[in-house]
Amino acid sequence: MKFTDFKSDQSVKWCPGCGDHAILNSVQKAMASLGYKKEEVAVISGIGCSSRFPYYMETYGFHTIHGRGLAVASGVKVANPRLQVWQITGDGDALAIGGNHFIHGIRRNIDLNVILFNNQIYGLTKGQYSPTSKRGFISKTSPFGTVESPFRPAELCIGARGHFFARCIDTDIKHSVGVLEEAALHKGTSIVEMLQNCVIYNDKTHNAITDKAHSQDRTIKLEHGKPMLFGKERNKGLVLDGLQLKVVTLGENGVTESDILVHDAHCEDISMHLKLADMEYPDYPVALGVIRSVKAPVYDQCVEEQLAAVQEKANIKSFNDLINAGDVWDVK
C-alpha cells in the first residue's frame, strides 16, 4: 500500500493553511507504513473541522455526532476487534461535549487510536473559546477574556488511568508518522494530542513553540530509553531537582550527560509522566513524542476471552437450550 491509496476521491475542504492537511498526510503515511489494508480500517469521528477526516480516507468511515465519536468507535471495536479503529476528535468534541466518553473510553482501555486535534478554539462554529483555551483568552464568546482555566489533555488522560499519551506538532510530519505508528502498535487506548493550528480563528496559537526558528529550543522530543536532551545544540537537558524537573545546560555547573534523566515511557508510575506532560514554555520545553506507553489489560480482548471462557464451560449452547433450562413444566 502506498500512502496515496488511503486518499479518497473527495476534495479536501479544510481551509488553505489549516494544520489538518498535514495531519491527514501523517495518518495516511503511518497507515501505509504499518501495512494496513484499506478494508480493515475504520475511521470514526465526532463533529468539528477535524471530524470531516473520515471523508478523506479511502477506508471505512463514520462521521457521527458531536462528542460521541469515541463511544461509536468503542462499539465498532468491541463488535469487531479485528478492525483497526482510529478516532478523530478535537478539543471541543473530546473535552467539552464528549468529556464523559473521553475519560471512560480511556479508563476501559479499548484498543483505539485517538487523535485529538488541539487548536484551543471552536473553528467550525467560527471562533468561540474551547476547554483548552488559555485563561483570559479573547474570543467571540469571551470578548473580555475567559475567566476559566483550561484542561491539559494529558492530565485528563493520565487521570483517567490512561496508558498511552503522546504529543505532536501538526506540521512535523516525519515525527508525527513515527508517533502515530507507535500509537497504533500500542494495545489499548492511545491518545495522540496534535498541536494543531487553526489558520482562521486562532492562528499561531502554538507558535511560541512550533515556530521553526525556536522549536528545537522550546520543545523536547522524548524517546523511550534516551536521555532527555533538547535544543538546537542538543546541549540542554532535564534533571530532577528535589521533586521538580529542572532545565540544565551540559557543561555548565559541572553538568554532564550522565546527570540527565533518561525517559522511561513504560514506567507504570504516573508521576514523571505527568511532570513531563505538564511542562509549559517558557519555564520548560514542551514535551513531544510518546510520554507514556504502558501495557495493561485491553477491554476488547478481555471481552473476547471472557466470552470464550464462559462458552467453553456453558451448558447452554443455543436459544433452545436456554428456554428449556431451569424452572419449566409440561402440560400434557
Binding site: 473520515p54 457521527t64 462499539g75 436459544f319
Partner: protein, 615 residues
C-alpha cells in the same frame, strides 16, 4: 392434610402479598405464582414496589406489594381487587384496604400492630381492621412474628435471620389457604441456599409450620379451591416482560446469524434486560455497560455499523438523552433496536410505576424529519414476539426501531409456552454484494427502499457514512436542496412501506358493535377483559388493539370508520388519540385517560364503557 371447614370454589382469585420493602414480599409472591403455574393455573402477576430500596420502615411509602391473579380460566391481567391480602404490617393493610374485594380474606401479622407501627401507618385508633372498614371481611389475625420465632427458637439462628424468615411463614399459610403443595418452594430454598444448610432447614421448617398453622385455625378460616386451567399442551415457564424482551432479541440474533450487541446504562424499569443479556455470555452476547445513556446508544450504533444486531435499552428519560443519536441511526440508515420501558414522567417522575406517555417522544422526539418504526408489546410474554419482530424489521429494513413496553409489562409475569423456533421466520440480512459493480452506500432495495449493509472488513466496499445529508446516488456529502427533499421523503417512505409486511389490525369482539374500544401496548389485558366481560353480559362492544404504531396497519382507517363511537383508552393524556386524529382527520374519537402510575382497572373501564353505551 386436615379437614377443611369452609371451602370457597372460585374460577379465579387474586392474592396480594404486601409488607415493608425489606420483608421479602417480591420473592414470596414470585414463589407463590410459580407454584400456582406449575399446579396448572393460568396466572398473571404484577409487583408494585417503591423506588427507594428500603424506604422508612413501617410507613405507607415503604410498602412493597406483589399481586398474583390465577384461575382455571385464562387470565389477562393481574387483577384489580384482591380476594386475599397478606399484610405484614399496618402500613400494608392501610395501603391496600381499598383494593379488597367485598368478602375477601385478610391475613394480618398482628404482632406488627403495635402502637408505633399503627401511628407510622397513619392509624388513629388501635383497631386497624375497624378503622379500615374491614370488619365484615374474613380476618385472619395471625401472630406471624411470634410464631416464626417460636418455630425457629431451637435452630441457633440470630434474631435478624429469624425475623427475615417471616415471609416464609406467611407463604406457608397462604399455601394452606389454597391447598397447594410446598414442593416447588422447598426445591427453590434448597437451591438458593445450597451452601447454607442451616438456612435451608430453617426456611423449610418455617414454611411447613406456616402451612400447619392453617390446619390449626381452619375452623374459622375459609380456604379456596381453584381447579387447574384448560391449558394448551406443551412445555411452559414463567416469564416477565423484561426477560421476554431480552429473549426475543436472543432469538432474533440466532435467526439472523448475527452477533448480538447491547449498549446500555442501568435505568428503572429497564435494567433487568441489561442484566439478563449480561448473563448470556454463553450465547455470545456482547454487553457494554456504558458511562451514560448516550454512550449506550452510540456504542450500539458503532456495533451496528460493524455488522452486529445492535440494541440499546432504556426508559423515558434515557430515550430523551438518546434522541440525537437515534437521528444519526435514521440518517445513516443503520439497523438498531431501541427498547423503551416506559414509566411515569416527566423528568424522573414515577420511576417504578407504569405509564404510556412516551408515545409522542418515540414518534417525534428528535430534531429534523426523523422517522423510525415504532412497535409496542401488549403483554409480558408477547414482549418476546415484539422484541423479535423489532429486530427483524430493523435488520431487514435497515432502520432504527423503537420498541415500547412499560413498567407494568416489564415486571409482570405470565406462563409462556416455549416456542418451536423452527416455526419462527428467518431474518434476512441485506448484505451488500461485493460483486455488484453498481454498489454505492445508498443503493436501495427497490421494494423496501432500504439500503444494503456493507460492513467494515469487507474488501472493496470501503465507504463513509455519517450524520450529514448524503447524495442519493453516490453517498457523498450533499447540501443540494432537491437531494435533501428526496432523501427526507425516501426515509419516510421506507418506514411507511413496512406496512406491507406487518399484520392487519384485528377486531376483537362484536363485529356489529357500534362502540369500538381502541388501545395500544400494555393496556391490552385490562381492555380485553373489560370488553370480553361486557360482551358476555350482552353489550355490543368491540376492541381494536394496536401493536404497530408507525407505520399503522394498512386497514386501520377502513376499520375505524365503521364505528360511530370510538373511545381511545391510554395511560397518558391522549397521545395515541391525537396521533390517530392526525392521520385520519375524519375519524372522531373520545378519550379515556389515566395518569396515576397504575394500570387501568377492569372495573373502571367497564363503568366508563357502560356510561358511553348509554349516551
Amino acid at each position: 392434610m386436615g379437614k377443611r371447614s369452609k371451602v370457597i370454589e372460585r374460577d379465579e382469585v387474586v392474592v396480594r402479598f404486601s409488607g415493608d420493602s425489606g420483608d421479602g414480599m417480591q420473592l414470596t409472591g414470585t414463589l407463590f405464582s410459580y407454584t400456582s403455574a406449575i399446579f396448572g393455573n393460568d396466572i398473571s402477576t404484577f409487583p408494585d414496589y417503591p423506588s427507594e430500596i428500603r424506604a422508612p420502615q413501617g410507613t405507607i411509602s415503604g410498602v412493597s406489594g406483589f399481586q398474583v391473579h390465577f384461575g382455571h380460566t385464562e387470565v389477562f391481567t393481574p387483577g384489580d381487587y384482591c380476594d386475599v391480602l397478606v399484610a405484614m404490617n399496618p402500613a400494608a393493610l392501610k395501603a391496600n384496604a381499598k383494593w379488597m374485594k367485598p368478602g375477601g380474606t385478610v391475613v394480618l401479622d398482628v404482632d406488627s400492630c403495635d402502637d408505633k407501627n399503627l401511628r407510622k401507618a397513619g392509624y388513629e385508633t388501635d383497631d386497624p381492621i375497624v378503622e379500615s372498614k374491614l370488619s365484615s371481611y374474613n380476618i385472619v389475625k395471625a401472630p406471624i412474628t411470634t410464631l416464626t420465632k417460636e418455630s425457629l427458637k431451637d435452630m441457633g439462628l440470630d434474631n435478624k435471620s429469624i425475623l427475615r424468615s417471616k415471609n416464609m411463614y406467611a407463604l406457608g399459610l397462604v399455601y394452606w389457604l389454597f391447598d397447594r403443595p410446598l414442593d416447588h418452594t422447598k426445591e427453590y430454598i434448597k437451591k438458593k441456599f445450597a451452601k447454607k444448610q442451616l438456612v435451608v432447614d430453617a426456611n423449610i421448617k418455617v414454611l411447613e409450620d406456616g402451612y400447619n398453622y392453617g390446619n390449626i385455625i381452619q375452623a374459622m378460616t375459609p380456604s379456596y379451591h381453584i381447579s387447574p386451567a384448560e391449558i394448551k399442551k406443551g412445555r411452559y415457564r414463567n416469564l416477565s416482560g423484561n426477560v421476554a424482551t431480552a429473549w426475543g432479541l436472543l432469538a432474533a440474533a440466532e435467526k439472523s446469524g448475527l452477533e448480538l450487541f447491547l449498549g446500555s446504562y442501568p435505568i428503572t424499569p429497564a435494567t433487568e434486560i441489561l442484566q439478563e443479556l449480561s448473563a448470556r455470555k454463553d450465547l455470545g452476547v456482547k454487553v457494554f455497560q456504558a458511562e451514560d445513556e448516550i454512550a449506550g446508544i452510540c456504542t450500539s450504533i458503532g456495533a451496528s455499523f460493524a455488522g452486529n444486531l445492535a440494541v440499546t435499552t432504556t426508559s423515558g428519560p434515557g430515550l430523551a438523552l438518546k434522541g440525537e443519536a437515534i437521528g444519526l441511526a435514521v440518517i445513516a440508515e443503520l439497523p438498531l433496536v431501541i427498547v423503551n420501558v416506559q414509566r411515569g414522567g416527566p423528568s424522573t417522575g414515577l420511576p417504578t410505576k407504569t405509564e404510556q406517555s412516551d408515545l409522542m417522544q418515540a414518534l417525534y422526539g428528535r430534531n429534523g424529519e426523523s422517522p423510525a418504526i415504532v412497535v409496542a408489546a401488549s403483554s409480558p410474554i408477547n414482549c418476546f414476539d415484539y422484541a423479535f419482530y423489532a429486530a427483524k424489521l430493523a435488520v431487514e429494513h435497515m432502520t432504527p426501531v423503537i420498541l415500547l413496553t412499560d413498567g407494568f409489562l416489564a415486571n409482570g409475569t405470565q406462563p409462556w409456552r416455549l416456542p418451536d423456533m423452527d416455526e419462527w421466520p428467518v431474518i434476512n440480512v441485506p448484505k451488500a454484494d461485493v460483486n455488484d459493480k453498481d454498489w454505492h452506500p445508498y443503493k436501495r432495495d427497490i421494494e423496501k427502499l432500504s439500503r444494503y449493509w456493507a460492513t467494515p472488513g469487507t474488501p472493496g466496499l470501503e465507504h463513509r457514512i455519517g450524520g450529514l445529508e448524503k447524495n442519493e446516488h453516490s453517498g457523498a456529502v450533499s447540501h443540494d436542496a432537491m437531494n435533501h427533499q428526496r432523501m427526507v421523503e425516501i426515509r419516510e417512505d421506507k418506514v411507511q412501506r413496512v406496512a406491507n409486511v406487518i399484520p392487519e389490525l384485528e377486531l376483537l369482539g362484536d363485529e356489529a358493535a357500534d362502540t369500538l374500544v381502541v388501545g395500544w401496548g400494555g393496556t391490552f389485558g385490562h381492555l380485553f377483559t373489560a370488553v370480553d366481560e361486557m360482551i358476555t353480559e350482552g353489550h355490543k362492544i368491540a376492541l381494536a388493539h394496536f401493536n404497530y404504531i408507525k407505520p399503522l396497519p394498512r386497514n386501520t382507517h377502513e376499520l375505524l370508520k365503521r364505528y360511530k363511537k370510538i373511545v381511545v383508552c391510554e395511560l397518558n393524556m391522549g397521545q395515541f388519540a391525537d396521533y390517530l386524529t392526525m392521520n385520519f382527520p375524519d375519524i372522531q374519537t373520545q378519550r379515556f385517560n389515566k395518569v396515576q402510575g397504575q394500570p387501568f382497572t377492569v372495573v373502571e373501564l367497564k363503568e366508563h364503557f357502560k356510561t358511553l353505551l348509554e349516551e
